[in-house]
Structures are given as C-alpha cells and as structure tokens.
Symmetry: C4
Subunit: 123 residues, 4 copies
C-alpha cells in the first residue's frame, strides 16, 4: 500500500531573524519534515507564497528512497533565499507519495519555543 | 487540481492581553494563516463563537490570488474587536478553496510560547 | 451543511501538577476546545483511557447551540477527578457534529510552554 | 464502530541530547501517544527512517485493550537505540485500529518547550 500523498500545503511560514543559543541546533528555523517511505527517489518541488508579491519557485529537493529529509527553509537559496521576518506559505509537490510535518524552532528569546503541525493534504 | 477547501474551523482561540518583548513581532497574537493558491481572489468570511453569547460576524477579508494572508485576530474590529483573555472559536468560509493553519504566540511571560495546529476541514 | 463530526479522539493527555504564574490563566492545564456550530445543544460524553487501568467515564458536558466550550480536563470530577502527572487519552462522543482541538499550557517552569493539535476524527 | 487506523506516520522526530530539570518528567523526550480503544491487544510495529542510512526496525510494542501508551522513543532499544540529536521519521503499523498523536518536550534550555501534532493516517 502506498503511504502518503503527492501534494501538501503548509499555510504557516515565518523564519525569525534573531536567534540565541548554539548554532545550528538552536538557530531559529522553519522545517518541513518529509518522509519518503517509497522505494523510488521523491523529486520534490516547493513553491513559496507571499502576502504581497508573486510566488517564488520551484525549489527542488530530492529525497532518496526510504529516507527522511528535515528540510530547513533557512537553507533554500535557489531560485532565491526566503527573507527573514516575513510571512509565507508553501505548496509542496512530490513525484512519490510522502508525508510532511511542519516544525518551527524560535529562539529569538533565550528559552526557545517550538510549534509543529501536520501539513495539509488532499485525502 | 483545486487545492484546499472552502470551509474551515479553528476550535481553539484566545488572545492573551499581556505581552512582553518588542511589538508587533512579539505581541501576543492569534493568527489564521490562509493560503489562497487559486487564480481568483478569495472572499473570506469569519464568524467568531463564544462560550456565553451569540456568535459575532461575519468579519470580511479578501486574500488576493496566489497570496498568503497571516491574519491576526487581534486586528479584527468590524463588526467588533475580539475581547482579550476570552475563549473563542472561529468558522471560516471562503469563496475559493484555501488552506488554513492556526498559530498563537503567547508572550505573557518573557520567554514566549508558541502553538500551531492545522485547522479542521471537511474533506 | 453539517460542520464537524460526532466522534473525536485526543490521544495525548497529561495534566502537570506544578504551576507557576497567576491562577487560573497560567495554571497548568489540558483543554479540549469544543465548537458546537449547530442549532441544537450538543450532549458530550468523554471517556478517559489510562495506561494501566480501566477507562473512566462517561464525563458529561453540554455545549449550547452556537457556542464554544474550552473544557479544562482539570475541572472534570464526576465520576472521578483526572489524576495529575498521569498519561491519559480521551474519546469524545457528541450528539451533534462538533469540532475539537486539543491544547495544553504547561507552567511547571516560569516561562510556560504551549502545545496544540487538531483532535482526530473519522472523516 | 471501529475507532482509528492501522497505519500512522510521524514525519518529525528528534530527541535532544540535553535536558534540564528533574528526570524523567522534564527529560527531553519524543513521544508517540497511542490509544487502543479496541477490545483486543494492539501489536504495534515501528520503523524508524533516517536521512542517510537504511530504516531500522521493527520495534515491537503491545498496547493492551482499552489502554493508552505514551511511548517514549528515548526508551526504544531493540533492535537499536535511537541516536540523540538526529533527525528521524517513524511509520507505525498496528494489528488493531489505534489513534496516534506526537509530542516532544525539549528541555535543552531551562524553560522547556513543547510541540504536538496529530500523526498522519490514511483515511
């Protein structure tokens, strides 16, 4: 049985510019945790949506078969870095069925905060 | 393929009256992150439900095509502001399919806390 | 159109016994946020499941039509209070379709932490 | 009516190696909260996926009928402990329908942080 979906949406997105604590673990970051449980490489395309300008993308990532990728949005830079302190949303399309969960670590203040939510998929 | 749904529910809702840290980033807030991936403007109507009085609404917001809107409940004021330190829930109806995720930043104490959850939609 | 479901599960449950900060807002608590958007009173029954003993319930709560109830598990006491510092899960059945989101405020340490997740429903 | 599903995915996974505060309550941990509302024991198998090596498993756990198990990934050690400070994902298969929610307590810094999300299931 196939596990997952090929289209996911993370409506929340925000990378705080400030951080406290040792890098990279406690650097403020926004992550899409992508599990590819299939036996084929998953070719992933992300499109980033903003409040006041056109979407940017696709960003391309490959997740190997039977591997997980905790993708930090902080590290995306092609076609363009994602600006800090800016609201965004993302749409993720995959060649294979995957499962995506969204997590943020916010260390703007010394005791960091966390959030996580299941991404949305059409079922 | 259409992405999203036209009816969403956020059962949790609470805007803390207290905040610490620089405004507006670290002002305690409650947010509905709304992605409109479609090619048409999404006319959004929110209704706010309370524990002990009739629902208030609709609040109206337009999300432009292919844009995201991280809507702070703190800023809603027509037909009426949402009281602080008060439990509420919200129902969101949209003219176009959208995806909604709920986030709170609570900075009542100096090291702020975060929560996030996917909103509920009928699938 | 009916909004919501009549059966919900919150697999996570834990009420920390310790708290810091002013009560009741910052008392450590576990909450089921229940929205009843219907025009009829929702008769709610909760059953609490434990790791090592039989389930306890039903706990009964009524949510009036078009009202929300942010139900603190801390306050349940009939048929029995829920012990602190104890893992549990809950199953919620409702006479009307409702939507449920789960939230915890944990103030065992002075800067409180938050978590939230959509409850699970059969769709 | 059967409650739950037999296949679940938690795409996020990370056990911080550091902790502050009294153990075991405030030890940094990653938890799968598993409710087995059925009348039969649920035989659970977990497989852990990593970014850069083959999946490890199955880990086997039994959840008794009508019981909850808040399973700490920290405690899994057969066939191998889960390394700290390492990204992972998990796939959970159960002989009976169950419901799973994911929670992390991160106490690397003195004021701990929490996150929680519903696990993903095929509906």
């Amino acid at each position: 049985m196939e596990i997952g979906r090929k289209l996911w949406v993370i409506a929340e997105g925000y990378i705080p510019s400030g951080s406290s604590g040792p890098a990279p673990q406690l650097t403020s970051h926004e992550t899409a945790c992508i599990l590819n449980p299939s036996d084929r490489a998953a070719e992933i395309e992300l499109t980033i949506y903003y409040p006041d300008r056109d979407p940017v993308g696709p960003y391309r990532v490959t997740v190997a078969p039977r591997r997980t990728c905790h993708l930090r949005f902080n590290n995306l830079d092609d076609p363009a870095p994602i600006p800090r302190d800016t609201d965004f949303s993302s749409v993720v399309r995959s060649s294979e069925a995957v499962v995506i969960q969204h997590t943020r670590l916010d260390s703007r203040q010394p005791a960091h905060a966390l959030l996580s939510a299941l991404a949305w998929s059409d079922r």
